[in-house]
Amino acid sequence: MKSKKLYLVAIILMGMFLVGGCSVNGSTASKDQILDVAIGTDINTWDITKFPEGDARFVWSQIYETLVRLDADLNMVPGLAESWESQENGKVWIFKLRQDVKFHDGTPLTAEAVKYSYGDRAYVTMAKTLQFENIEVIDDYTVKFTCPKPMPLPTYMTHIAWPVVSPTSVSATGEFIKPIGTGPFKYNSYTKGQEVVLDKNEEYWGDEVKLSQVIFKIIPDSSTRIMALTSGDVDMSLKIPESDVAQLQADKDITVNRKLSTFTDFLQFNTAKAPFDDVSVRKAVANAIDTEGIVKNALNDVGVAAQGRAYSPVMMYSAKDLPLYSQNQATAKSLLAAAGWKDNNGDKILEKDGQPLKVVLLVGQSWSPRELKISEICQAQLKEIGFDVEVQQVEAAAFSEIEKAGNFDMLMRTGYYVWGPYPHHVKVHFSKNYASHYNNPAYDQLVQEGESTTDDAKKAEIYGNLQKMILEEVPAFYLLHEEKIVATRNNVQGYEISAEDPWLELRGVYLK
């Protein structure tokens, strides 16, 4: 009798759990066109006052849009701006806006909104990535940017982290209310660390959006993301580790979309202090690491070995015939020996002036799990030429703190200062950049010339020279060019992967 009662209680409890687990997400969207997407990191900001880290940008690219867009192969195409033209050799830029665009709250897109989005509140101007002498509203649909010097402004205007937002997303007292953009999907709800629900924008200016709802599920662990995909809990997963690609490709229900992206992984040196103030030591590192082997064996041939090349081949002005590095331990060892590093006490770690060759390699946690793996491979390969490398993995905030304090020798970075195909990335090593850790007046001058010249042939030459200089001077050693991987279940139709990372194009997507 007693046990029967227990059973009853158990069944009731189980029933309650089942009902609780199946609660429908608030809105009345038709069930069949809801796309579930697994992403790896939480949304650190919804407002343009901060830089959206990691996968937040995939979500932003549904809500917000930019003046200039990139197609799947990185060609600049009109976005919210219909057309643009430059005056005074690229010092002044005039953007003509589309006239049929409305924000999600029904207010029209006007030049005022653009001015607001690139005003004092915006991260991009606070961080001094973009500085304007003046932003002028010429009429409702024309806006004029005056830059302090000639620059290719449209190439800046493609970055999803600096989109056009509605001034109404902030209250009269200056408090952020909710994200209001012009994108194909609008904000519905957000549960911290769990999920983001976006609804279809019924009044989208482009082709009609086919999905009724997109739900981004935040799943930090990559193997859990893959399990969610294979079990059908999600229809699409971003950030698939390279080592799992082969296994997913063998799955009949799953399509793995791959494309060489604009991102490149690199080891940046702190040239302000020993031992990497010596170019021979930096070159020794470049000779010691087997980037081809890393891509072939550790990443199962997903991605392209960079061998020191600073930009991915899909980037503009990516030079061919560069003198690339291949692993050569003998050269690496002789470079170190010539620089005065010798193993005097037989512990296989080199010393110079009584100091061991001990370096700290800092790895962040925001972009891809492969970064830690590659760092540990570099650690082992550098050990073979006499380095004692300590790999420290820290969260994003601690990373920038340590970077500012200068307590590191190497940084592992991915796609840093990369948006779109234009090689803005060269500015990473520009001495006035706070993230530079490298000082070379000749390099600085080339960067400035490349930015301000308008002659395309001359640009190609300057950026070619910069790439050569990076290979000779090694302010950073470039490891591999990333392949963007988006895995979808076969019910997802109409998805075309774009080479831009981080960007997710869902406009043409529908479910079968």
Binding site: S222, S223, M227, I294, A298, I377
Partner: protein, 277 residues
């Protein structure tokens, strides 16, 4: 006593496994078929085969060799955590129990404060704050492990100190230190030994949990918890990366628990007598 242990099957099996583990740890360089730190990327993620009985990990390192070298780390952590926490706990328990009064009250409230924290969470915070490194892990785990010893020892001392032999020693003019260390300590040591042998297992498990969460011992150190943590990304494609370290953690912790349980039975005054009656 030793004969009792050998008669107790549980204790004996625990003891045998532990002896084997100690031998493996000592002879690791001889036993390991490969260098546990050597990365052979072209041999990454090989399934178990003749050359690599437990397979290779994502860096092409021999899993068996890493488990063998991991024994050193695990036993070292287990022993040092237990020694430190037993030392602190017994010291506090002895003095608190012996002197009693406000002193006792004060120390026991400190124990209560520490007991109020969930153990692993506190260790996580401490190890996280101190940063990576083996000594920090040992400190963090010892910090959450000493209270049990203090409680048990204090209780035992409270009972023992009222007995005649203590009175006798005192009337003969023995100092406090003499009574504590030569009279009380030997009489309360058996529960401590039992706790310690279970404690080693718990410390190994705790260290594995911390390194699984990425706190404490840093790669590329060969450590079981770390191997689990790295292997979990390959649960479906290479399950041997998690199965073998998981099994060895289980076996080790079980062995120490068996030994501890067996010792407790042996130390119990009622042990064996039931059978004789």
């Amino acid at each position: 006593m030793i004969r009792d242990i050998l008669k107790n099957k549980m204790a004996l099996s625990g003891l045998l496994i532990i002896t084997m583990l100690i031998l493996v740890a000592l002879l690791a360089p001889v036993l390991a078929p490969h260098d546990p730190y050597e990365q052979l990327l072209e041999k990454a993620l090989m399934a178990p085969c003749w050359d690599y009985p437990f397979g290779t990990d994502e860096y092409g390192r021999c899993v068996l060799s890493r488990i063998i070298f991991g024994t050193q780390t695990a036993l070292f952590i287990g022993l040092s955590v237990t020694v430190v926490s037993a030392f602190v706990g017994v010291g506090i328990g002895l003095t608190a129990g012996f002197y009693g009064g406000r002193f006792d009250e004060f120390l026991m409230r400190i124990v209560d404060v520490f007991l109020a924290f969930p153990g692993l969470i506190l260790a996580l915070v401490v190890a996280g704050l101190l940063g990576p490194g083996l000594p920090n892990v040992i400190f963090a785990l010892a910090l959450v492990g000493w209270m049990g010893y203090a409680r048990v020892v204090r209780g035992a001392v409270l009972a023992e100190k009222e007995k005649e032999f203590v009175e006798t020693a005192r009337s003969l003019g023995a100092s406090d230190g003499y009574i504590i260390f030569l009279h009380l300590l030997p009489n309360i040591i058996s529960p401590v030994i039992v706790m310690a042998s279970i404690g080693i297992g718990q410390a190994i498990l705790g260290a594995a949990a911390l390194s699984f969460l990425g706190i404490g011992v840093q790669p590329p150190t060969a450590m079981w918890g770390l191997m689990l943590s790295y292997g979990k990304d390959y649960l479906q494609s290479a399950p041997y990366l998690t199965i073998f370290p998981g099994v060895i953690i289980m076996v080790t912790v079980l062995a120490f628990n068996f030994l501890g349980d067996g010792l407790r039975d042996v130390c119990d005054p009622r042990y064996g007598k039931v059978i004789e009656e």
